[in-house]
Amino acid sequence: MPETLPQPPEVDRALALDHGLTSDEYDEILDRLGRTPTFTELGIYSVMWSEHCSYKNSTALLQTLPTEGEQLLAEVGEENAGLVDVGDGKAVAFKIESHNHPSAVEPYEGAATGVGGIHRDIFTMGARPICALDSLRFGSLEASRVRYLFDGVVRGIGDYGNSFGVPTVGGEVYFEDAYEGNPLVNAMSVGVVDTDRTASAAAETPGHPVVLVGATTGRDGIHGATFASAEIDEDSEEDRPSVQVGDPFTEKLLLEATLEAIREGVVAGIQDMGAAGITSSAFEMSASGGTGMDLYLDRVPTRETGMTPYEILLSESQERMLVVCEPGDEETLAEIYGKWDLNAQRIGTVTDTGRVRAHWGDDEVAVLDPAHVAGDDVPVYDRDTERPSYLEETRSFEASDVPDLEAADVEDALTTLLGSPNIASKRWVHEQYDTMVRTNTVVAPGPSDAAVMRLKGTEKGLAVKTDGNGRYVYLNPRRGAKIAVAEAARNVTCAGGTPVAVTNCCNFGNPNNPEVYWTFAEAIGGMGDACRALGTPVTGGNVSLYNEHPEGAIYPTPTIGMLGVVDDLHTQPTTAALRSEGDVTFLLTPRGWTHPDRLGGTEYLSTVHDRVAGDAPPLDLEEERAVQAATQALIRDGLVQHAHDVSDGGLAVCLAESVIHSDGLGL
């Protein structure tokens, strides 16, 4: 019999509000249960109805995105990684996710656990991660706190990825005052699986054992999910009982054991434990399987003594997964995980009750309907929107408001741009990452617009890139989001790939602010337009709201993770570097294109004139598609020596970078 428990607090409306639930949500729970929830049940609702887990403020919008494509295999859910068939019997699972709030408090562990979490999302589908990318945004480098956060995040990504043994091959880093105090740390993972070897994330068959595998459970990051849905304020640093700590060594063992168990056919269903630990995986697997679960929490291997059911269910200890297997396979499962020095402890059984029932010894501590907690009956909000007032001021900007560039100043302006943190070389960052482990990296970070990875056993490669520009989206959310997709596709194209599918990470402010929600709705609209026009469906992603800093919301920042396929790995990978003397360089533009003479949102305007104003740069999706199609055809026909997209800093920086990356050539 487990030890007797301390008396849990009395559950009432005030406690529900403390847990981050709204008054209406508490009424919805009382109505659905027909009774007051137990303390443990309240904890479950608070974490599962947080924005981070439920997407309650974004589901309505995200459903407008295109998610069909003949190459897409998995049924797309907001939380699962997308699965794209790339031929040769292989499929690619890829996803990008945010770990912004934990990284603001403890940059090293926040970033490290972000990398660990996204890789688990990939290998929970049976895929072996072959590369990682990131997308980082910080305040200005003038502030020492920003330098501390930047250094900690880069070390965290490096130490975790290098030890876990997956190369970090690409990413982007931006520094803007708007991210002061609330850095954005988006981590992306790309994995490969044989199409007949994927794993399901549902608990489909009553009677199947439910097994907790991986590390032991402690009080790590309890309420990490709710915390991720609350704004960061001065005293939020104290209310973190325990920071989540990543252990890449245990994760490497968990990866090898899990892939081995899936290969041996002893995994019927499996789900990674991300935010909300056991709770999210148990309820989500039951909801998608249309079943229920009986869980016995006293059997969970714990690392600390005296943990209550509430703490065990909500603990976010890292490197753990929930596995459902066929009766009788538990021994093989325990044997495989034991070989890798990991726990594999049966903690319950799948049932047909349509309820998840958590027990502590003989007592039932929670009995809840998974559909209501994590499925279709979770509340969905469609917030009201209001066009932000700042747009009046920013859109009034004319190019003539700033002095034109004299011939004599051109050189200074270019060197200022090339030296600005947003454009300058990021070698200091990616040289701290192992970019080559697993010997698949054909094009590493630096000279190329996108990384190119070899698909061993085929002639193919993958071109992968993360992209986004918060300043453009701030100035014009719809067009800025279109540009994010278009630019990611352009980068993949310039690297010799054909864009295939997208994952997104939507980093926005407080959704209850109508002006913020307007930028979110507009951005999703623009993202959908671009994905449809460029034929790159969305396979899944992540939403991070409540990204605010003392003066207001951060720049609305949807980041895009783009997957492209390189058909012939030996001839098509292309970099920005000039290759040989006598080569001729062309500027590829749509027919009848003329220079729009607009400076809105440019790096030049911000760096040289210290102004963020105007409208986002013009973009015509039809023309964009045509230019990319032409570039892909030229590369396929072997006519292209080097290719580079014109983006931050414009044509001047684009040409300068091509020279800088070349081997002593000029232009």
Binding site: R155, G158, D159, N162, S163, F164, G165, D247, P248, F249, T250, K252, L253, W340, D341, E431, Q432, Y433, D434, T435, M436, V437, R438, T439, T441, V442, A444, R454, K456, L569, H570
Partner: protein, 235 residues
């Protein structure tokens, strides 16, 4: 006469697949993984102790791995003259196991570093370097956070006297300078052999540059040296 390779796998090794790919797929040699709990390494000509983060590199890189059951047999194999090749983390494990002198400490920059690195060949007369020439410069990638080679002065003197240093970090034209030294290693040492010459430790990763597709193939020369040595010994 093919050479039989054995690649040791510790929990946490992550370059084991890369070494296997090089030996088996690129050089078409008989190669097998040796799990760290196996008592015997079996019938092999060359044992590769690969790179990675054995046991998470906790405490010191390689500190825990050397106690794995397989290491007892690797030490026996080495003492009997068998070829043992420790790459990166493998070099650290061989030092911890006492098969190679000195130790590998945290990089002087206190940062992990991963980049292509020029190396100058110091001794071309060993099973690992007979396919190279002295003073030749090859470019092989490094990827480590604890790669600073250290040994007491008297040990360093003995290593130099027995010509045990195989590679030093250098500039592209073979100058051994402080700037060319990525981690602060004593005497710019990137790789060395034991006095008998059959056990080698190398911080750079030759298995990462045996295919021009990946940007360089100077690493082939080391594998080719091993194959040449095994075939002459067997003949």
């Amino acid at each position: 006469m093919p050479a039989r390779f054995g690649v040791v796998v510790f929990p946490g090794s992550n370059c084991d697949h890369d070494a296997y790919h090089a030996a088996h797929h690129v050089f078409d040699q008989e190669t097998r993984f040796i799990w760290h709990e196996e008592e015997s390494i079996g019938d092999v000509d060359v044992v590769i102790v690969p790179g990675g983060f054995s046991y998470g590199d906790y405490l010191r890189s390689g500190a825990v791995a050397r106690f794995s059951p397989v290491m007892q047999d690797v030490v026996r194999f080495a003492e009997e003259g068998g070829l043992v090749f420790g790459i990166c983390n493998g070099f650290q494990v061989l030092c911890e196991a006492g098969l190679l002198p000195g130790t590998l400490m945290r990089n002087e920059s206190l940062r992990f570093v991963c980049k292509d690195t020029p190396l100058r060949v110091e001794n071309a007369d060993t099973p690992f370097t007979n396919g190279l020439t002295e003073d030749q410069v090859v470019t092989i990638p490094i990827s480590h956070g604890e790669g600073r080679y250290y040994a007491d002065e008297d040990v360093l003197a003995r290593i130099e006297a027995h010509d045990q240093v195989l590679f030093r970090y250098s500039t592209a034209d073979g100058e051994v300078t402080d700037d060319a030294n990525p981690n602060g290693s004593a005497r710019g040492i990137a790789g060395l052999v034991n006095e008998a010459g059959n056990v080698c430790g190398l911080m750079p990763h030759p298995e990462r540059c045996v295919e021009s597709l990946l940007g360089g193939d100077d690493g082939r020369l080391i594998f080719e040296s091993l194959l040449a040595h095994v075939s002459t010994v067997a003949a």
